[in-house]
C-alpha cells in the first residue's frame, strides 16, 4: 500500500508538472516542429537512425532545442521524484534500462498514425500536424493526455473527449507499431501475437473473442474490426480507444506457456462481433 505521504507527494508533483507545462505551453508548441525536423534529419530513408547518434546525446540535443527554462523545470520535478525520465534510469542492479525511446520518437515522426485521421470527416492537414506535434511532445515531455486533448480540441473544433480519443488511439497506434517492428524481426514460421488486455464490461465483442489468445501473424489479415479509420488490426487492435496490445511472441513460447491459439472459429467470432 502506498503511504499517504507518498501519495500526496505524487499528486503535488502531478499538479506542478501540469502547471509547468501550461506555463511553457507556447514554447512547447513553437519548438515542436523544430524537434520533428531535427529528428527527421537524423534518420535514414528506412526510418532507422544514423550511426553515432547515441541515446543520451540525442536526447540532450533535443532538450537543448526545447529550451533551458522548460527542461530544467521538468528535470527538477523529476529529480524531486527521485529519477529522470528524460535520460533513462536503472530500476535496480541488473534490471533492463528504461531509456528515452529513439525508436518511439522515430515511429511518431514517421506518422504511422496518419491513417487515423485520413478517414475522419472534415479532417485537415492542421489536425494531422497537430496530432503529430502532440504525440511528439507526449514522447518527450511528461504532460498528461488531458492537457494534450485540450490543445488538440481547439484544432479539431470538437470536444475535449473527441480529442482525447484521437490522442489515446494515436499513442496506442505508436505502441502497437513498436511491437509490430519486433514481430517483423521474428522468423515467419514462429511469428505470433498475444492479444493481451482486459476482458471486462468495456471490452468490445471483437476484443473479447481474442483476449488472452495467441494468433499466428499470417492470420491477422483475416481479422476485420470494422472500425472506420482504425481498421488495421495490427496497428489499431479493436479500433478507436482500444486498450489491447498485440505482443509479439514465438510459437514455441505460446506452446510452452499453454496459450490458447486462436482458431478460425475464434477469428470468425471476433469478426461477427465487430459486425454487431
Amino acid at each position: 500500500m502506498i503511504p499517504s505521504k507518498i501519495l500526496s507527494e505524487m499528486e503535488r508533483n502531478d499538479k506542478a508538472m501540469d502547471a509547468l507545462i501550461k506555463k511553457y505551453g507556447d514554447q512547447i508548441k513553437s519548438i515542436t516542429p523544430k524537434i520533428i525536423e531535427f529528428i527527421q534529419r537524423q534518420q535514414n530513408a528506412d526510418g532507422s537512425f544514423k550511426s553515432g547518434v547515441g541515446s543520451a546525446k540525442f536526447v540532450k540535443r533535443i532538450m537543448r532545442e526545447m529550451g533551458d527554462p522548460l527542461t530544467s523545470g521538468v528535470d527538477k520535478l523529476l529529480t524531486d521524484a527521485g529519477t529522470s525520465a528524460l535520460e533513462g534510469f536503472n530500476a535496480s542492479p541488473g534490471a533492463p534500462s528504461l531509456m528515452v525511446g529513439q525508436r518511439e520518437i522515430a515511429t511518431v515522426v514517421s506518422g504511422s498514425f496518419d491513417d487515423l485521421t485520413k478517414n475522419m470527416l472534415g479532417v485537415s492537414k492542421d489536425l494531422q500536424g497537430a496530432l503529430k506535434s502532440e504525440l511528439t511532445q507526449l514522447s518527450l515531455v511528461p504532460k498528461s493526455i488531458d492537457t494534450s486533448a485540450k490543445i488538440l480540441s481547439e484544432v479539431i473544433g470538437g470536444s475535449v473527449g473527441q480529442a482525447k480519443s484521437v490522442i489515446n488511439t494515436g499513442m496506442a497506434t505508436v505502441q502497437r507499431d513498436l511491437h509490430g517492428q519486433a514481430l517483423d524481426a521474428l522468423p515467419e514460421d514462429q511469428a505470433m501475437v498475444l492479444y493481451i488486455g482486459p476482458n471486462d464490461g468495456d471490452t468490445r465483442g471483437f476484443c473479447g473473442a481474442l483476449a488472452g489468445k495467441a494468433i499466428y501473424k499470417k492470420d491477422l489479415r483475416r481479422l476485420d474490426n470494422g472500425q472506420r479509420g482504425a481498421s488495421n488490426v495490427l496497428r489499431n487492435g479493436g479500433g478507436w480507444n482500444c486498450r489491447h496490445r498485440l505482443l509479439p511472441v514465438t510459437a514455441d513460447f505460446a506452446r510452452d506457456q499453454n496459450m490458447t491459439i486462436a482458431t478460425s472459429a475464434d477469428i470468425s467470432a471476433a469478426n461477427n462481433a465487430a459486425r454487431g
Binding site: M1, S139, Q175, L186, P187, I196, F253
Partner: protein, 150 residues
C-alpha cells in the same frame, strides 16, 4: 553446449558470418517473449520479486471500482498506456556483448513506471522468468546451429 554454457566457438564455426544475425534474432525473440511473460505476470498482480504486489490505497481502490477495474489487485492497468508502452527498444552490440534493451513509450508513462517501481517493483524479470528466458535463448541458439548443420 556443455555444462549449461554456450560454446561460442562452435557457434561461430557453425554459423560463420551469420553469427550476429542469429544471436540478434534469438535475442529479439527472447526479449519479445520476456515482455509477454512480464505482462502476463503483472495481469495477475505479481511483481518482479515473484510475490503479489501490495494493495492500492483505499481511496484509489474506490476509484478503480468506479471505473470498472478490479480494486483489490495492483495490476498497473487503467487505460493500458503504461503496460502497452513496454517494447523492445534495441538489440545492439555494446563492447563484446550483444544487448537487448527494453523501453517504455511515453514520457508520462516513464514517470509513472518509476513511481510504481519505487512502491512495488515490477519492471524486471523474476528469478524463475530469468531462468526460463536463459533456457529459451540457449534453445534458440542450439536450433540455429542444428539448422545450419542439418
Amino acid at each position: 553446449m556443455a555444462d549449461g554454457k554456450i560454446d561460442y566457438t562452435a557457434l561461430e564455426e557453425a554459423l560463420g558470418k551469420d553469427l550476429y544475425k542469429a544471436i540478434e534474432q534469438a535475442l529479439t525473440a527472447t526479449a519479445s517473449n520476456g515482455i509477454a511473460m512480464m505482462r502476463m505476470r503483472i495481469e495477475k498482480g505479481v511483481g518482479s520479486s515473484g510475490e503479489s504486489m501490495p494493495a492500492y490505497t483505499p481511496r484509489y481502490r474506490k476509484r478503480r471500482k468506479d471505473i470498472g477495474r478490479p480494486p483489490d489487485k495492483r495490476d498497473l492497468f487503467v487505460s493500458g498506456q503504461l503496460l502497452g508502452g513496454i517494447h523492445l527498444e534495441s538489440v545492439e552490440t555494446k563492447g563484446a556483448d550483444i544487448v537487448a534493451t527494453l523501453g517504455i513509450a511515453g514520457a508520462r508513462n516513464r514517470v509513472l513506471a518509476v513511481r510504481h517501481e519505487q512502491t512495488a517493483p515490477w519492471f524486471d524479470f523474476t528469478p524463475t522468468e530469468k531462468a526460463t528466458l536463459t533456457n529459451m535463448l540457449r534453445d534458440q541458439l542450439d536450433k540455429a546451429i542444428e539448422a545450419d548443420h542439418g
